[in-house]
Symmetry: C2
Subunit: 73 residues, 2 copies
């Protein structure tokens, strides 16, 4: 797995969990205190996320942090 594949996978995880919870990107962004444009970039796998950002999202979505990095490698 290279870094760009990782960004994509993490973004997809976030999107899936968000959709499973039935909330919009805008709603998630609001609860995270992110701009919706940032949320879009993140889900699209366009950024190299930091721990801090992942922590915020995991807290808002109430899923363990490791769930975002849990895939076959």
């Amino acid at each position: 797995m290279n870094e760009f594949q990782l960004y994509l996978k993490v973004g997809q995880k976030i999107r899936k969990i968000r959709e499973d919870k039935g909330i919009s990107q805008q709603e998630l962004a609001d609860r995270c205190n992110f701009e919706k444009s940032n949320m879009s970039r993140i889900e699209a796998g366009k950024t190299n996320l930091t721990l801090k950002t992942l922590l915020t999202i995991s807290t808002v979505l109430t899923v363990p942090l490791k769930d975002f990095l849990d895939f076959e490698e």
Copy 2:
């Protein structure tokens, strides 16, 4: 858990795995192509790591990415 506690825990995880493998900070830094000063900062929990950095370390230490974020929250 706040962000600073997270940085500390991740740094401690990295250090523990490294020590279990019996390699020095310098050696790990070299294999990651990091400066040893960066490795020290990371293990000390002083930085908000990015996915890219975590991926490099997980690859070099041959542990799954999620192991770095696997703790009670």
